[in-house]
């Protein structure tokens, strides 16, 4: 039987697919903690396993991303702009992508950080994962936001989460700075190519926290409409 006009006017909500995608992206970055541990213990087999796992999850996120994009015709009237939603999706996806890049870099080069900065890098990774976890929490508030029709009270709840994200991100900035400051005097005693990639890895970890923060700020724009 043909769809009735009433049935036909309801599109599929993009909110739960967006949340699924963020969950998937976060599951990638989460594994970086384990990867760092494996690296610390020089367990390269475990590390390789984690890397393939991250890569698999990244592909999963990609599939979710494409599916959501295709299910959002421009005729949809949504409580937020379609553009903002697609931007948010892209930022979420970058968390998965960068996580994959970091794991690839570390495994391919069997990267071991010098003891002087090792614990700091592990700590930085933890902060990044935490930032992303908060971003996921914020995204998971979206169904509550929708239920309250983006009401003031519920927006405050989300604003508070976003504040936490921001402070975690600045924590990651400080951590990066500390690591770089410690690395600089060591440079001359280390193989130059390794040093280049230490900087690269630290930069990418910083980008992860950045992306998580961007998820929060983009969400804020989405709420404001």
């Amino acid at each position: 039987m043909a769809k009735s006009i009433i049935d036909g006017m309801f599109g599929k909500s993009p909110i739960s697919p967006l949340q699924q995608h963020m969950t998937s992206a976060h599951s990638c970055i989460e594994l970086l903690n384990d990867l760092m541990l494996a690296m610390k213990n020089h367990e390269w087999d475990t590390a390789e396993l984690i890397r393939t796992n991250i890569s698999k999850r990244e592909q999963q996120a990609d599939v979710l991303k494409k599916k959501l994009r295709l299910s959002l015709p421009s005729t949809f009237m949504m409580p937020f702009s379609r553009r903002d939603l697609l931007d948010l999706l892209l930022i979420q996806d970058s968390i998965a992508n960068i996580s994959k890049d970091v794991s690839g870099l570390m495994c391919n080069r069997q990267m071991t950080f010098p003891d002087e900065i090792l614990d700091d890098v592990i700590e930085l990774t933890k902060v990044c994962v935490k930032t992303s976890a908060k971003a996921l929490k914020a995204i998971n508030e979206l169904d509550e936001l929708l239920e309250t029709a983006f009401g003031k009270r519920e927006r405050k709840v989300v604003s508070n989460i976003i504040k936490q994200i921001n402070s975690l991100e600045s924590k990651s900035d400080t951590a990066q700075h500390t690591i770089r400051a410690k690395l600089f005097p060591l440079e001359s005693s280390l193989p130059p190519i390794d040093v280049v990639f230490y900087y690269r890895a630290i930069e990418w970890l910083g980008e992860l926290a950045d992306s998580a923060q961007k998820v929060g700020s983009r969400l804020e724009i989405l709420l404001a409409k």
Partner: protein, 423 residues
Amino acid sequence: MDIIANHGELLLILAVVFGLFMAWGVGANDVANAMGTSVGSGAITIKQAIIIAIIFEFAGAILAGGEVTATIRKGILDASLFSDNPHLLVYGMLASLLAAGFWLLIASSLGWPVSTTHSIVGAIVGFGAVGVGVDAVAWNKVGNIAMSWIVSPIVAGTIAFMLFRSLQSLIIDTTKPFENAKKYVPYYMFLVGFVISLVTIFKGLKHVGLSFDAETSYYLAIGFGILVALIGTIIIRSIKLDPEENEDFYFTSMERVFSVLMIITAAAMAFAHGSNDVANAIGPLAAIYAVIDNDGIIGAKSALPVWVLLVGGGGIVFGLITYGHKVIATVGTGITQLTPSRGFAATLAAASTVVIASGTGLPVSTTQVLVGAVLGVGLARGMAALDTRVINKIFLSWIVTLPAGALMSIVFFFALKGAFSPL
């Protein structure tokens, strides 16, 4: 005159049969749309929806359908032009019933968005303008009706927007949504009861033989509003807050309050639909009866007999039982984003708009009013994703249904004319 005298009975029987056919079509197809938001929100089961529809469509048609029936019967055409040829009016109204009925059947089997209202108005205007003469159509009135098709969804959307915004600030976006729902929802229920009963008392009860002065009417409406609120309060009293179900989603218990009250709004919607769509479906039957009852004297005062509305109410229930329940089962069950609070706001807004239109004698499309109401909730940021292509569909329905109804009724008109009064 001879034709009316000779074939009056046969013509009336035909009119009843065609009228039943129309009402059957409404019951089989259109009711599903009217109940769509109620069933779709998961608030009431399909079985409940059918029972509510049977009772309240019938009640709406009989208690509040009079004004719309009157518009269809004598508002669209200038009856004085038929004084010399009353049989032409009878043929035309018969043709209109047939045309609208067939069009409904064809279009809904093809899945096109159709409105009984548009097809019947198009059909009457069609045979009037072509079969009798352009002057036969009361273009002023037709213009008003056409305006009401544009205005009614907008009005419903505006009401829904404001209604939903008030729900948002009083109930949903608060620290205690469940408690506030229990506290404030009875006031909304009062509003439903008050508006619907006021319109019904002022405009609908005349032909049932009851009439009240303004003061008594207001008192009665207030009383009925309080009664509805009381029933609502008693029903929600039994709903308990369940912290466990709220862990995942903070608003589950609150939604259950709306869910129970949806039964009352669904009833209001069915009543509204009955008052408008059923009434305009049997308007032509009322016109034919008036001519035949007065032996062909047009314009003679004849009250709208209740049995005519009974035919409409009976036909719709018949349509529901034979076919409509299947359609209801497919409409709305897949709408996951329509939570009871949304369904409540949209249905209430639509029901109020349609009942007010019915009271004013304006035949509007319940489905389109409902679409307007849902879009209103969407504009208040209450819906995740609404497909605005539906607006195109509504325009399409205006553009296609009116000429289709007109064309078919012209054909049927000349066929009937040829069959009964061969020259």
